[in-house]
Amino acid sequence: LSSRPFVLLAVCLFVLTIALSLYVWQLRRSAAAVSPTLNTPRAVAPPGTGPAKPATLWVAYDNPGALRTTSVSLPLSSERQRRAAELLRALLNIYGAKDSPHRLPPTAEIHSVYFVDPGLVVIDVNSALADGQTSGVLAEELTVVSFVQTLTANQPDILRVKILVDGRARGTLAGHADLSGVYDVSQVSSLAKQLSSQ
């Protein structure tokens, strides 16, 4: 007589365990159904939808290893982070073209640009850009300086720039240009003068 409640309790616990197991299994199935969408490639950001505005691009030329400024008119967002990314994508459009003056792969992409006040900008590029970059001291510094100068020419409140690859810090761009530190805009500007004098 005294063992009957224990048997009932054991049966209830057994049923509860089975029910919880089924529930967890169902949760894992639904999570697995959702996760592939997280791993799919990001859609390329749409071109700027704002009104066309004048902008200055610092374009790298492998021959003769120099930088030149180009005035363009681009549809640019009024939000500064999106605007910065749009400016860099305009550069990548030039570098990814067939007759590119400074070859970068067409798959090169700017993931995003973050502003961390005061004055720090973080550029997050994809690994296709870094891996497809021509390796060399001059070749890599042309890319870095053209990015930094293009941003500062259009948004003068930038003081320092950090470059990430796929959201992570990387030692060099393609074996030479140092990405471990933060670029001082005034020093990059001095280097840009040297590169423009060629």
Binding site: G136, L138, A174, A177
Partner: protein, 249 residues
């Protein structure tokens, strides 16, 4: 109240130990610290002047091939070949050269900087090679933002800071000497490690073809011509007492 030493044997022991340690420390300090009265006068001429030492760093190596200039010529092999030739050319001009690596060894950038810093050379020269551009590029360091030295402590990322003026002087003299040979050469800064980690005058040299054909950089004759020009330029800097004074760390 009188001090009763027999009542405090532990106290006597501690006192004795303390005096012994104090005397030993004073003796050790007096032997290790430089004594200005015993050291030779700084103005006295050294009987055998130190040979001029240049540290040459063939970039990349081992698991890091560097740029692939041609399918058969990774950058690491070209930089090592050029470094060995430059060492030979400098030796022929009475200048001692030490290679950071003399084999296909993998060295980190920090290891390269440590080797060069501990050698106290007159000049550090890193060798790179590229298919882009034409002729030679001579680079000095570009110190990263927020890299500043505080008091006697050098920020590792800005260790080159106090030596940057001397590096630029060396860069200018090297380029001026090479320009006399009418070989194309450019003066630039570069965000290139380990230049900013060096506490000696430091330059990086990137060799590129003049014909637009990357295989020229791997050619023995082209490397020999560049090394001879570089060795002449470095040698023209080394004998001058004023240059030595400027460059000496």
């Amino acid at each position: 109240m009188r001090w009763n030493s027999s009542a405090y044997p532990q106290g006597r022991f501690v006192l004795g130990c303390s005096i012994t340690i104090l005397v030993a420390s004073l003796l050790a300090f007096s032997q290790s610290s430089p004594n200005p009265t015993l050291s030779p006068a700084p103005s006295a001429p050294a009987p055998n002047p130190q040979p001029v030492l240049v540290v040459i760093d063939p970039a990349h190596g081992g698991s890091d091939p560097g740029a692939l200039l041609t399918p058969e010529s990774p950058e690491k092999e070209i930089t090592l070949a050029v470094a060995r030739r430059l060492r030979q050319e400098l030796g022929a001009r009475g200048i001692t050269a030490q290679l950071v690596r003399d084999s296909d060894a993998t060295l980190s950038l920090d290891q390269r900087a440590a080797i060069a810093n501990s050698a106290y050379p007159l000049l550090y020269v890193a060798i790179h090679a590229s298919s882009l551009g034409s002729g030679l590029r001579v680079f000095t360091a570009m110190i990263p933002a927020a890299g500043e030295n505080r008091g006697p402590f050098l920020n590792w990322d800005a260790a080159q800071g106090p030596f940057l003026e001397r590096s630029r002087a060396a860069q200018q003299q090297l380029v001026t000497a090479i320009q006399k040979t009418r070989f194309p050469v450019r003066v630039l800064m570069a965000p290139l490690r380990p230049l900013n980690n060096l506490k000696v005058p430091a330059l990086a040299i990137e060799i590129s073809p003049t014909t637009g054909n990357a295989s020229q950089v791997a050619a023995t004759g082209y490397q020999q011509m560049i090394c001879a020009a570089l060795a002449n330029a470095i040698a023209s800097m080394a004998p001058s007492s004023t240059v030595r004074a400027e460059l000496q760390p």
